[in-house]
Amino acid sequence: MKRFTTLFNALDSTTRTSEKIAALRAYFQDAPPADAAWALWVLSGERLRRSVSTRALREWVARRSHTPLWLVEECYDAVGDLAETLALLLPPPDDGKSMPGPEGAGVARAATHGEKETPPLHKVMEEWIAPLRSLTDQEREERLNRSWDRLRGQELLVFHKLLTGGFRVGVGKKLVTRALAETCGMDPAVLAHRMTGRWDPTAEAFLQITSPDADLPDPGRPYPFFLAHSLDGGPEELPGPPEDWLVEWKWDGIRGQLIHRRGETLIWSRGEELVTPAFPELAEAARVLPSGTVLDGEILAWGPGGPRPFADLQRRLGRKRVGARLRGEVPVIFLAYDLLEAEERDLREQPLQERRRRLSALLEAAGIGSDPAVEPASGVPLALSPPVTVHDWAIAHALRDTARTRGVEGLMIKARASTYGVGRRRGPWWKWKVDPLTLDAVLLYAQRGHGRRASLYTDYTFGVWADGELVPVGKAYSGLTDAEIREVDRWIRRNIVDRFGPVRAVEPELVFELAFDGIRESSRHRSGLALRFPRMARWRQDKPPEEADTLEAARALLRHSRGEP
C-alpha cells in the first residue's frame, strides 16, 4: 500500500507525461507481481463491485469523526469527491499532538497498533476490501474502523478511492500500457491486446500479460479498438485523391467487436464491456460465420429499412436478459466495418482495402447481403456497412448534409492503405460529423462540478422561452474555457436566487449557444424535448435573455431533423 500510495502521489503531483511514465515504470520495476496486477487493473479503469454503500460510509465516517451527517454532506459538496472528503474528515491518528475538536475528536487510538505498516496493495484489495461484500453492515463498520486505525495520511485517500471505485488520477489505460510496455521491453500494441477485455488481477495473470513470449490463453479476448480523429475542416485537406479513401456512413449506435471463435460468440462494446446478453440475436447470427472470425462494426436499432434513433437502442442496454417482446420492439443489426481476424489469423497489419475485400467475400460466402437496407432474406441481422461512393469531395459534402435526415452522424473517411492500429491516432481514420444543431438558451440552474472542477459551479441547466416563461431544455457542462468557467462561476455566486439541495437557481440573465447532435421528443422532460450531447458552443455575452430562442424554434429543429417541412 505504501508503494502504491507513493505512485499515486507521484502521478497526482505532475502534469507531465514523461514524469508519469517514469513514476509508473519505477513502480512496475519494484512491485511484486501480485501488487502490480492490482495496480495495472485499477489504473486501467477496472473496479471491484461496490462492497459498501456510500451512504453507509458517510455515516460511519460521521460517527468516527464526531461530525454530524449534514456537515459531512456540506463537506462533500465543497470537495466534490467522496473518497477525498472522507479521508479529510477522518481524525488523524494520535501523534502526540492533540487535535482539538468537538468532544476531543482526536482521541488516542493508534497507540495500540504501534508503527505497523499497512499491508501491500493486493492484501488491501483481497483481504480488506473484497470480503466486505459478504458481511453485515455492522461487521463492515468494524472492519473499516480497523482499517482506518492503520492507514496514514494520503493512504486514506487512496484506500477510499479503491473502496469506492473510480480511480482517476490523470492516467488512462493508454499511458499505463505504454509505461508497462517500456518496463518490460514489449510492443505496446501486443500488451494492449493482452489487456483488452477481461482479466483477473492476479500475479499469474500479470506475469502472463507481461511475459515476452506468452501465448494468448483466452479465446474471448477482443482486440483494442482503433479510433478515428475528428475532421474539423473538410476532406479536401486530406492527402491524396478521394480514391485513396474509403467513405462510409458514421452510424449512430454502439461500436462493437463480434468475436466468433471455437463455437463461442462474444460481443464487446468499445468501452470493453461484454454486451452479449443484451443482443442474443447477434450472437446467434454469428454462427453463420466460420470459426476464428472477429468483426469490428456498429450495433444499431434497425428497421424497417434504416437506422432507428439511439434512444431506442438504449432500451436494449444494461440488461442481463432481453425478452422476446423487447427483441420484437427494438430489432437490432450489426453492421460490419472491418475484419480483424479470419481463420484465427490476426489481419490487423494488412491494409484496410484487403481486409474489406476479405470481409465482403466472407459475408457473401455466409449468405449475407451487402446492403443493410434490403432486409436480409435469411433473417440474419448482420450486414456490411456499405461503402459510399465518392469520386469528388463535393459529393461528400452534399452527402454529409443529408446525414441528419438519414439518421446517421456524418461520414467516416478511412485511408484504404491503413492498418488497424490501437487507440486514437491522427492521420489514417477520420470522422466527419454533421454540423451540430444550435439553440440560444438562458442559464437557469447551476450545480458544482466534480474532480478538477469541484467547488466551481460548472454544471448548468438551460431554458428557452415558452409563453413568456423559461422552460428547461437541457443540461451542459462542457465547452467553456477555464477562464470562462471562472467568470461564470463568479457571476453565479452573486446571482443566486434560490437553492434546492446542491442546485442553485440563478437570475435568468446569461445566454449561451448550445450545440447538440440531435433532438427528439421525450416525455421525461418538461419541455417535451431531449437534446443529444448538448454542450456550450459560445457564451453569447452580446445577447440579452429576451432574445434567447423559443420552444417553438426547438420544435422546428426537431421537425427539420426528421425531414419534415
Partner: protein, 359 residues
C-alpha cells in the same frame, strides 16, 4: 434589547459608541484596520488606526499621505463612550484583533487570524469577551492544517529534488505575509536540519518591495536576491523563487527555463484546487484559522455569541448553534472567487479563492 456594539453597514463594520469603522469598504472619517491585506485596508479614509507593529506594512499599502495612528499591543484608549484596544491575531505582521468595551460589555472582532506558529508575527492571543466576531474562511471540518514544520520539510525536499534535476523551484504565495512566512520558515527549517540550502533564494519584485518592514521588525529572513534574468541564469536551475500567484502563467516565468511550481495556501488541502491550479505541488500552509483552530479560539474567548464572517459561514453557524452557541452570519460585501486571484494576485490573502454565497 441592547444595541449591538458592532453593526453591519454599507460601509462595513461600524462601532457606534466610538464612531469608528473596522476595515471599511468605502472611505469614512475614522477607520481601524486589522491588517494590511487589500480587502481589509482600503485607501481614502480620513484617519486610520492600526497596531504599531503593523504600521510599516500598512504604510506601503496606503501611501505616504495617509494619516495613520498606532497603538501598542493591549493598550487601551477611550473613543467616545468605548474603550478600544488591539491584540495580536497571528495572521501577518501587525495583524490585530479589535477589542471594544462599552459599559462592561466586550466585543472582539478577530480580523483574519490563525493559531499556528509563524516567525513573522506575534502569535494569536485569545481575548475574553461576550461576543466574538470571527473570520470563517475555512469553516468546514475538512480544513485541518498539518504542522507548519512538516510543510516546510516537504518544501525543502521538493526544492532539493528539483535542484538536483536542474529545475528551478517556483513557490507561489501572496506577496504580503505568506511570502515572508515562507522565507522565514524555510530559513529556520534549514538551520534546524543543519542543512545546506540547495541553491540561492530569489524573490519576485512584489515580494522584495515588502521585505524592509519585516527586516525592521526583526523577522529572521534568509539572504535573498531579486529575481531577474541575471540571478536566474547564475542560479543554474538550483534556485527557489518566491513569487505572487499572479506571476504564474506569465512571461515573467520563462527566464527560469525548466521549472517545477508549488503553491502554498490552505486551499491546497483540497485536491481539486490543487489540480485546477495546474501547478506541480500544493503545500497546505494557511494564514487563516482551520476548523479545529476555530473551535479552540471560540472556546478560549469564553464568548456566548459568535458572529461568523468571510467564507462559507452557513455550516459553521449551524454547527455552533447545535453545540449551544448563539451564532449568526455577519454579512460582508466581499465576494470571493473560486480559483481566481486578485488582479495583482499579491496581497488579498486567501479569501480570493473561495466564494461567499451567503453575502
Amino acid at each position: 434589547m441592547k444595541e449591538p456594539l458592532v453593526q453591519v453597514t454599507d460601509h462595513g463594520l461600524f462601532v457606534p459608541a466610538a464612531d469608528l469603522y473596522i476595515d471599511p469598504w468605502k472611505p469614512v472619517d475614522r477607520a481601524v484596520i486589522t491588517h494590511a491585506h487589500a480587502d481589509h485596508a482600503r485607501g481614502g479614509s480620513g484617519r486610520y488606526l492600526s497596531a504599531q507593529a503593523g504600521h510599516d506594512v500598512l504604510r506601503v499599502r496606503l501611501g505616504s499621505t495617509a494619516r495613520i495612528d498606532t497603538l501598542p499591543w493591549g493598550e487601551r484608549i477611550r473613543m467616545g463612550s468605548a474603550h478600544l484596544s488591539l491584540h495580536p491575531a497571528g495572521h501577518i505582521l501587525g495583524a490585530a484583533q479589535i477589542r471594544v468595551e462599552v459599559g462592561g460589555e466586550v466585543w472582539v472582532v478577530s480580523g483574519d487570524y490563525k493559531l499556528e506558529s509563524d516567525p513573522t508575527c506575534r502569535a494569536f492571543e485569545p481575548v475574553p469577551c461576550h461576543t466574538f466576531i470571527s473570520e470563517c474562511t475555512f469553516g468546514l471540518p475538512i480544513y485541518r492544517w498539518p504542522t507548519p514544520r512538516a510543510v516546510f520539510g516537504d518544501i525543502l525536499t521538493w526544492w532539493a529534488g528539483n535542484a538536483e534535476r536542474g529545475r528551478t523551484s517556483i513557490l507561489f504565495g501572496y506577496s504580503l505575509g505568506k511570502a515572508q512566512r515562507l522565507l522565514a520558515g524555510i530559513h529556520l527549517e534549514l538551520l534546524d536540519q543543519g542543512m545546506e540550502a540547495p541553491g540561492p533564494i530569489l524573490v519576485h519584485g512584489a515580494v522584495h518591495r515588502l521585505l524592509p518592514p519585516f527586516h525592521r521588525a526583526g523577522v529572521p529572513l534568509p539572504d535573498v536576491l531579486r529575481a531577474n534574468r541575471e540571478s536566474a541564469r547564475a542560479s543554474e536551475g538550483r534556485a527557489l523563487v518566491v513569487a505572487p500567484p499572479s506571476a504564474g502563467g506569465t512571461p515573467w516565468i520563462r527566464k527560469f527555463g525548466q521549472v517545477s511550481t508549488g503553491f502554498a495556501s490552505g486551499w491546497m488541502r483540497i485536491r481539486g484546487h490543487r489540480r485546477r491550479r495546474g501547478g506541480d505541488r500544493g503545500f497546505v500552509l494557511s494564514d487563516h484559522v482551520d476548523w479545529p483552530g476555530l473551535l479552540t479560539a471560540i472556546r478560549a474567548t469564553g464568548a456566548e455569541r459568535i458572529g461568523l464572517t468571510h467564507g462559507t459561514t452557513g455550516p459553521a453557524v449551524r454547527f455552533l448553534r447545535e453545540e449551544g452557541w448563539d451564532a449568526w452570519n455577519v454579512p460582508t460585501r466581499f465576494e470571493g472567487e473560486a480559483g481566481s486571484e486578485a488582479p495583482d494576485g499579491s496581497d488579498s490573502g486567501e479569501h480570493e479563492t473561495e466564494g461567499q454565497e451567503d453575502a
